[in-house]
Symmetry: C2
Amino acid sequence: MQTELSKKLGIEHAVFGFTPFPAVAAAISRAGGFGVLGAVRYTAPDELKRDLDWLDGHVDGRPYGLDVVMPAKKVEGVTEADIEAMIPPEHRQFVQETLAKYGVPELAEGEASGWRITGWMEQVARSQLDVAFDYPIKLLANALGSPPADVIARAHEHDILVAALAGSAKHARKHADAGIDVVVAQGYEAGGHTGDIASMVLTPEAVEAVDPLPVLAAGGIGSGQQVAAALALGAQGVWLGSVWLTVTEADMHSPAVTRKLLAAGSGDTVRSRALTGKPARQLRTEWTDAWDDPAGPGTLPMPLQGLLVAEAVSRIQKYEVEPLLGTPVGQIVGRMNEERSVQAVFDDLTRGFEKAIDRINKIAGR
Amino acid sequence: MQTELSKKLGIEHAVFGFTPFPAVAAAISRAGGFGVLGAVRYTAPDELKRDLDWLDGHVDGRPYGLDVVMPAKKVEGVTEADIEAMIPPEHRQFVQETLAKYGVPELAEGEASGWRITGWMEQVARSQLDVAFDYPIKLLANALGSPPADVIARAHEHDILVAALAGSAKHARKHADAGIDVVVAQGYEAGGHTGDIASMVLTPEAVEAVDPLPVLAAGGIGSGQQVAAALALGAQGVWLGSVWLTVTEADMHSPAVTRKLLAAGSGDTVRSRALTGKPARQLRTEWTDAWDDPAGPGTLPMPLQGLLVAEAVSRIQKYEVEPLLGTPVGQIVGRMNEERSVQAVFDDLTRGFEKAIDRINKIAGR
């Protein structure tokens, strides 16, 4: 499975795997794909350094990358406390009432909320980059808009390709104009932040919009058939996130979330603003239903919503309150029905890809 | 482009084209595809007979099919007047206010509303079938659920394959259990009634759910690359509807609708209940916005909504009131940028398909 981009990066399969877990990223790179570590969960640069040290020591010299969240709009001198102050009391009350309704216990005294907004702020992303540029990363992806020009320039000085996620052809074009090297076309069916154009339509539109830049297809991909489909649509590779959530190397911390992921069908996700204030696909739960209910107060814009629900989400996760317990994941969750190793996922992808090519050649009379 | 199903039907390309226009259906069959005439717009069996006569005389002996709308749930003895009586006055008032706001003129005295609910009622669909079984149709598709058992049996007596549209694997399995022969997996990105699972995920799920029955992929397909992708996903063919709306053979009656279709991007559609009461993808307009606005009365369930808006839609169409003027269409509308003949669309599909196969074979190292 070789494209111009995979050759440039020196990988065996044009399969890019996004994951918050260093062990999964390392296993993806070792399996011949390209592991991309998500940095958003790191609040302290030291923690990122520790995990990059580990990752770099476990890829057997194979290339890997980093994914940061750097908002396109910079807000100077705004602190988390300033943002906290913008949240209406009505919304705080709705959070407390919903938690109380399900009997969600409080965190212990002094216990930190696991998920913070800070990873989403530019100063945090910049401190992550200061760490990351000391490592031989080959690709730097940004999940929210194009990275600032100085970051792109700095990456290029280090021979690092810069990728950015796009949910529309227009968005992809904007990234290309900003000087990035790779577009990740994130279809409607993808997990996490996503637009409403499905991969079948978005992928070729993005390819055409940024030609000759390479496009990776993201959203709805978890089998070799889907890899073949994405490449037929003109992509130079695929970007998979959801499928790694249930691999044996994943450190999900919550057996209940893993259970829910393994049991969920493709219709059990929802594109909701409940998590961050922007539409993000995730497991549908009574928590997302509460936020999406017209009878409730509705969600706040990013970054207010993320800050508003951070502590609540930590409590729901810590105590595994099943009706409310969710996670970002794409519609491909319907095929994630057993825990497998990263290598087993790759074996399945490559076998399925070859079978799909055999089949389509037969249809084409070749 | 040959699959088991296309061989069985004796067609050259596994491309099924759904269209309300006999001239388009005939051109699709003549081009080597399989033309399927949509019957929902025929209120009188005589009109259907006239158009089937014409179609049968213009396919050069090639096979073709018919698509009816036969609701799965039969409601005995309910007339259109009974249904009219169920519509709340508040909703009628909202229709009138919205039309007045845009200055939409009334129809002339005695002028019939062009679009009626009647085509959606079982007795009408049955009278259409009485006509259709006199013609050598090779496929009978039902757009709403599985057809009743006696209809399936009657079709099979005439050696007619029965197809049904499905928006989920579960729905597809239900059709298979009812004894149909072909599943049309209708992805989220498709025009008209559609679920929320995108084609990339839905197609392989449907294939697996009804194996060994053939699945046609519908939704987001308008280029040869997309045909290749759908076939890579395991489909035995593709089902295209939207792309035929702007072919030169189409009799759209409204230059303004054609203009809007040619200008629209993939992000200019919406999945709205405004038209029929069930989610259907269509051009986003100020009309769909009004119905989807939480400040309005919202839509009514099928079939009430369709009956409620029938006259209004006729008026909007007749007077081409642009801000309100829409039509069902899929996200592929973004690629429908010029009027072309059906043959030109086929030439483009087959050329693009071959190119996609070349490209993917190169990636696969073959």
